[in-house]
Structure formats: C-alpha cells, structure tokens
C-alpha cells in the first residue's frame, strides 16, 4: 500500500508524547515492507546533552518508525490507532557517529525483516544529509 492519500499524521500512529516523540513526518511507506520518515531529537529530550544526543537515541527513532509502519499495516482495522509497543532487542547496531545532532532532520528508514506477531524484526538506517550515522537490527513487541 503506497501513501496515495498523502502521509498520515504521526500523532495518529504513535502513542509517544513530547519530548520522546522523535518521528515528525512520514515521508514514504510501502506497507507492510518499509517506511521512511524524518525524525528530530528535541532539545528538551532527557537524553540530549546540549546540541547532541548519544547515538543510541537513534534506535528509539527507528523503533518509532517501526511502530508507525506497524500502525499503518492495521489501517484496514476499524480499531486501528496507536498501540503501545516496546523495543525488545537490538542486534549489530553500529554508531558511525557517537552522537546525533539535536534539532536536525534525521532520515530514518526501516524495512521489515521478519514477523511473528506480536514480535517483529526490522533493519534500520539513520542518515543525515546522505551520511549514514546509525544502522542495526531492531526487534519490537506490540501490546495487543
């Protein structure tokens, strides 16, 4: 399913609130395979340190992107909407930069790599201006 009606509001897909909601705009989604979005680390995020945040904060952005993709895949369901979900695992995450900039638009892309509901696995990449900053494999658990 492509986003022929335009990108949905992030608030309708994620249960997160500020300052932990990092995903700001859905750019593209091919449901249920992949999703690209823009994430921003706000200055008042509790893990931000001045104008930067540890690279592992990018894993939260990727987990939120995965949650948005999961929510989009349930849009045919009349009860669809944000569901609580947890990051339950990370494998082979590489931080090409130790820190991520605060307030900058990070390009986040997740691709589904396997699923056994309520568990799902995603490959994730985070870039800034075409430069790869974080990559890795995430596992998520969505609460029914």
């Amino acid at each position: 399913m492509a986003l022929i009606d335009g990108p949905p509001a992030v608030e309708s897909l994620l249960p997160h609130g500020d300052p932990m909601r990092l995903v700001r705009v859905i750019v593209e989604a091919t449901v249920p395979q992949s999703l690209a979005c823009i994430a921003v680390i706000p200055p008042d995020n509790p893990l931000a340190e001045g104008d930067a945040a540890p690279a592992f904060v990018g894993l939260e952005a990727a987990a939120q992107a995965a949650a948005a993709l999961e929510a989009l895949s349930r849009r045919h369901d009349s009860t669809a909407g944000p569901r609580l979900g947890y990051l339950v695992g990370v494998r082979d995450a590489t931080f090409h930069s130790s820190f991520l900039p605060v307030g900058e638009p990070l390009s986040v892309r997740v691709e589904a790599a396997g699923s056994a509901p309520p568990l799902a696995v995603y490959e994730a990449r985070i870039e800034l201006g075409g430069t790869l900053l974080v990559s890795g494999t995430l596992s998520t658990y969505v609460v029914a």
């Binding site: 509790p46 540890p54 939260e60 990051l87 695992g89 082979d92 590489t94 890795g136």
Partner: protein, 121 residues
C-alpha cells in the same frame, strides 16, 4: 526533575556496578507513554554508558550495540543495578541490568562496543 538518582557506583568483582533509582517523576517517562509510564529501552543503554564512564573515570560514548535483549519493562520508582563485565580484548563489554528490591530480576542484558575499542582501560 532528574532522569535518575545515583545510589552507588564502584568495583564489583572483575567488573563494575552502578545502582540507580528511577524517580516517579523522572524526565525519562515524559511522553513515554502518556498515562502509561515505561522507561524507554534506550535508557538502559544510557545507564550502561554511565556505568562505563564511572569505571573509566571519564565520559565515554558507545560505538555500537552488538546485542541487547530487553526482557521486562521498567516503571517509576524502581531501583536498578547495572553490572558490567570485564571488557573483552576487542573492546566489547557485557552488561546485565537487574531490578533490585524484593526479588532480583534481570531486566536486560547485552554486549556493547565502546568508542576507543580495545584497551579502553
């Protein structure tokens, strides 16, 4: 409103231990999730990074996460203990995060890579 309170940090066997309490009003719960506060999974990595920094005696950054398995959610007011293993030759370092108070329970475990690689201490 701080993110967490340090209760103790020091050597533990061949490794290091960091005990913290996550206050009910910790900033880490703000927005995660409204009305249903759960410690973000990445906060486990923040605690591991703090423990490594204490051990090394200066602020360190992670270069990667080889693996982490998050087994149980953490809520407000919990007391936690990060246990670090001695670093491996390749600079990787194992950890376990436990819930303290009452029955001890493993909340997460994994292996991280520290910037600077092998020989960081």
């Amino acid at each position: 409103m701080g993110a967490y309170e340090i209760l103790g940090s020091g050597p533990e066997g061949n490794g290091w231990g960091l005990a913290v309490r996550i206050p009910e009003d910790s900033a880490l719960f703000t927005g995660h999730f409204p009305g249903h506060p759960i410690l973000p999974g990445i906060a486990h990595l923040a605690l591991v990074t703090r423990a490594i920094s204490d051990w090394r005696g200066r602020k360190v950054a992670l270069a990667g996460v080889r693996s982490i398995k998050l087994r149980r959610p953490v809520g407000p007011g919990e007391t936690l203990l990060v246990r670090l293993s001695a670093p491996a030759a390749d600079g990787s370092l194992g950890f376990v995060l436990e819930r303290q108070g009452g029955e001890i329970e493993v909340l997460s475990r994994g292996t991280v890579l520290v910037s600077g690689g092998a020989g960081w201490r």
